[in-house]
């Protein structure tokens, strides 16, 4: 935790190193989450792309979750196209929950029903979507 605090303090200081905003400020690295559901909507827009999935909760009710990605500009450069994910796709998402408790998570891994796995772990990861 101490390390994380230092990390937070070091952001937004002098001579900028960050992107549009800090995911670690918005999402909690101590709250990993896995979600499975059907894509209900895509927002292929800047500053960050988002998609929404309908997830069945423990009692069978459908809950709509918002999932945040990086910028379409960067995703495009790693071969993620605007139609890589389609409404209706069944996806499995790994990420971290939003700190504010809303039904929101970032995506560090997206697995598609056809076996494609997209993650940002290496520069070759995103190229798997080709």
């Amino acid at each position: 935790m101490k390390k994380m605090k230092i990390l937070l303090l070091s952001l937004g200081m002098a001579a900028t190193l960050g992107a549009h905003h800090s995911f670690v400020a918005q999402y909690d690295p101590n709250k990993p989450v896995t979600l499975q559901g059907k894509v209900s909507k895509l927002e292929w827009m800047n500053p960050h792309a988002r998609f929404y999935i309908d997830v069945k909760d423990a009692v069978g009710a459908t809950v709509n979750w918002e999932i945040e990605l990086g910028s379409p500009n960067t995703l495009i450069r790693y071969a993620w196209k605007r139609d890589t994910m389609k409404v209706g796709d069944e996806v499995f998402v790994e990420g971290f929950l939003a700190r504010d408790g809303s039904k929101l998570a970032n995506a560090k891994t997206v697995k598609f029903a056809d076996g494609r796995v997209v993650n940002a772990g290496s520069s070759s990861g995103l190229a798997d979507t080709k």
């Binding site: 390390k3 990390l7 303090l9 070091s10 952001l11 937004g12 200081m13 002098a14 001579a15 900028t16 190193l17 960050g18 992107a19 549009h20 905003h21 800090s22 995911f23 670690v24 400020a25 918005q26 999402y27 690295p29 827009m45 800047n46 500053p47 960050h48 792309a49 988002r50 945040e68 990605l69 990086g70 910028s71 379409p72 500009n73 960067t74 995703l75 495009i76 450069r77 790693y78 993620w80 790994e94 990420g95 939003a98 700190r99 504010d100 809303s102 929101l104 970032n106 560090k108 891994t109 997206v110 997209v118 993650n119 940002a120 772990g121 290496s122 520069s123 070759s124 990861g125 995103l126």
Partner: protein, 350 residues
């Protein structure tokens, strides 16, 4: 056997013995980098350092981009291992007490923790820059020249991320007090960029692709992922305006000192980020130098007589990425993030 041959033999034998001794005495370390998903991390632009805990001797190695590393010829002993990583996907890696044994290669895979973007797909400008620079072709050659014989800085560039950032200015008490208040906010609340406002008073500092369009009279500096996406540097001999409305990126003019272009910027507002808490007297000098076709260097000195106790200096290094292009980035298109950190709008300086 004459005397000379005998001396040579003794000399050669001595060398052989020393080499053999060095081979048996030294150890090595090798391994691969993995992320928290278990995927191989390729394209790292980082330097691995091993520091002997007893002698303080340091061995360094720029890691290759294939996801592996290796260091040989290490004196046996206990070492602290560090791998500083600039931005953003991974955190700097540190491991204490790594034991190197004589004649052995220690295999040690390094598992890198997520950095400030928590492994988010497509959100690492540092990795994007590393990949673009690694892919760049036709970057060798002499410094291109303008029609007036001066270096031509034109091209698509991407900065090499400094592993430990660019440091920060030393602030006078009133400015330090404001800085402390800013730090009590979350990084998103304090960061104008979260609200699609400019990320830096001097866009050369940004970890994004940028394009310099250079004529003898003007440089147009285009920057992706930044609002407003451009600045102008006037080279036609004009002075800074006397009655200037303070601006996020100020007013820039340039003049030559030999092959170095000295860009002078004043007229900043008080809230432009990247240079700590400052006043409207912030004055930034960037010294642009293109030692060859593929490299750009910018030495930055910022002064503020009201807010800083000393000049704030750092160096920017960039690589040419000639096959890349700036893409349109309209930040407010769908900026929903402020809804999640309680921001109803940027509040500026506390």
């Amino acid at each position: 056997m004459n005397r000379q041959v005998a001396i040579n033999l003794v000399f050669c034998t001595g060398v052989l013995v020393r080499v053999a001794a060095a081979q048996t005495a030294s150890g090595a370390i090798a391994g691969k980098f993995y992320d928290e998903n278990g995927a191989l991390v390729t394209g790292l632009d980082a330097t691995l350092t091993l520091t002997n805990t007893k002698t303080g001797a340091r061995a360094t190695s720029q890691v290759p981009t294939d996801g592996s590393y290796s260091m040989k010829g290490l004196a046996p002993g206990v070492y602290d291992l560090t791998l500083p990583i600039a931005c953003c996907m991974y955190r700097t890696y540190e491991q204490k007490a790594v034991t190197i044994e004589s004649g052995k290669t220690l295999t040690l895979d390094l598992h890198l923790a997520w950095g400030i973007n928590l492994g988010t797909i497509g959100d690492d400008p540092g990795m994007l820059g590393n990949d673009m620079r690694a892919k760049a072709k036709n970057t060798a050659g002499p410094t291109p020249r303008l029609s007036n014989g001066k270096p031509d800085f034109s091209g698509m560039w991407y900065n090499v991320p400094p592993p430990n950032g660019y440091g920060r200015p030393q602030l006078k008490p009133w400015a330090a007090e404001i800085q402390q208040k800013l730090q009590q906010l979350s990084p998103d609340q304090q960061n104008p960029a979260s609200y699609c406002l400019p990320q830096s008073a001097i866009p050369t500092t940004l970890p994004f692709p940028y394009k310099l369009v250079h004529s003898p009279e003007l440089i147009i500096h285009l920057v992706e992922f930044m609002t407003p996406g451009f600045r102008q540097i006037f080279l036609d001999g004009r002075a800074h305006p006397e009655d200037w409305n303070p601006a996020w990126m100020g007013h820039s003019t340039g003049k030559w000192e030999g092959d170095t272009l000295v860009v002078d910027t004043v007229g900043f507002n008080e809230v432009a980020p990247g240079f700590g808490v400052h006043s409207e007297k912030l004055h930034v000098v960037e010294r642009f130098h293109r030692p060859d076709k593929g490299h750009l260097e910018v030495d930055v000195t910022a002064e503020d007589p009201d807010a800083y106790t000393a000049p704030y200096q750092f160096k920017i290094q960039a690589g040419l990425v000639p096959d890349e292009e700036i893409l349109e980035f309209v930040c407010p298109e769908n900026n929903k993030d402020p809804l999640h950190f309680g921001g109803l709008g940027w509040k500026g300086r506390p």
